[in-house]
Symmetry: C2
Subunit: 165 residues, 2 copies
DNA sequence: AGGTGATCCTTGCGTTCGCAACTACTCCGG
DNA sequence: CCGGAGTAGTTGCGAACGCAAGGATCACCT
């Protein structure tokens, strides 16, 4: 029972490998998809994520808090991303009539155009990469497994579809 | 054929969903695992990743370039992470005799102790989270799918096991 | 030998992010 | 009606990253 064996047993445990692979794939996808998304459409990662959530939401608007919960950003990070989107004219802030603390981020016409232009390109690149690695059925399997994992590590991601005001 | 239908068809395409889930899971895992790893062992994400690669490598050393290829960092990012690890006494730099441009990052005794202390805790947390969501067989399936994806988006991650000098 | 292009690593600069502190507002119990 | 606890959003500050540029070295070809 040498020490080195213990190290490898720990370091190559299947669960650690699974998480390591997930981190690697995430980084690899970001490296493959991010630059072209930014170069072709001026929408680096987080900005695109925010715009995508907005265009899919009723009224193309979302409370700052909900937007933060649905993206990978903290509340303060979201404030600054929205700041930049406002500077670019892609998003506007709107007051919430039922809660004067609150603020909506609302997609502008320019923002809608921008994201609707970017999505097809983005989707095509994603599809190209996924198709090289997995069959459609395997992609479904992967999504199902990831979804179950997501529900454990981030259960709040799908709520807040109710717009009360 | 309303426009809104097109938006949803695009925005909810299975491939886009798969990538979105992967990003969400990555962020959720980082949020769950990162803080305790840092609070309990003083090893925020990237530092841990570097130490883990080193402890698994022959001679507990790796060229800077190889280390950058195996982690999610750029070359410059890696330089600074290693700087911090050197400041903390967990890693040392060593010259490469066969290439005077090159530099090795070598684990110190303190670095080995630190990572070997952190790994069991980390692994236990990972296992706890994974077990809540997936069966062991499903984890294997997930890993197999992610590995195929990794080989497409980041094929250089597993090479460079040869230490020539 | 000598020179040209590539590679390894580091540094200057700008950008982005999260935490903690702050303001403004809401909600609730007395 | 009032006061305290809790929530929504923003900002100061420090930490971390990538890109592009730079110095040193290597590899190869003539």
């Amino acid at each position: 029972m040498a020490r080195a064996t213990d190290v490898n047993e720990l370091a190559e445990h299947p669960n650690l490998t699974a998480v390591g692979l997930l981190v690697e794939v995430h980084a690899g996808l970001a490296a493959s998809l991010g630059p072209s998304l930014e170069a072709d459409h001026g929408l680096p990662g987080q900005r695109f994520e925010v715009l995508l959530r907005l265009v899919r939401s009723p009224g193309e608007r979302l409370r700052m808090t909900d937007l933060a919960a649905q993206t990978t950003l903290s509340a303060s990070g979201l404030t600054r991303v929205v700041d930049r989107l406002v500077d670019e004219g892609l998003v506007e802030r709107a007051a919430c009539p039922s809660d004067r603390r609150g603020a909506y981020a609302v997609l502008t016409a320019a923002g809608r155009t921008r994201v609707l232009t970017a999505v097809p390109d983005h989707l095509e690149q994603i599809t190209s990469i996924l198709a090289q690695a997995l069959s459609p059925h395997e992609i479904e399997t992967l999504s199902a497994l990831l979804r179950r994992l997501r529900d454990v590590v981030h259960p709040d991601a799908t709520r807040h579809t109710d717009t009360d005001c």
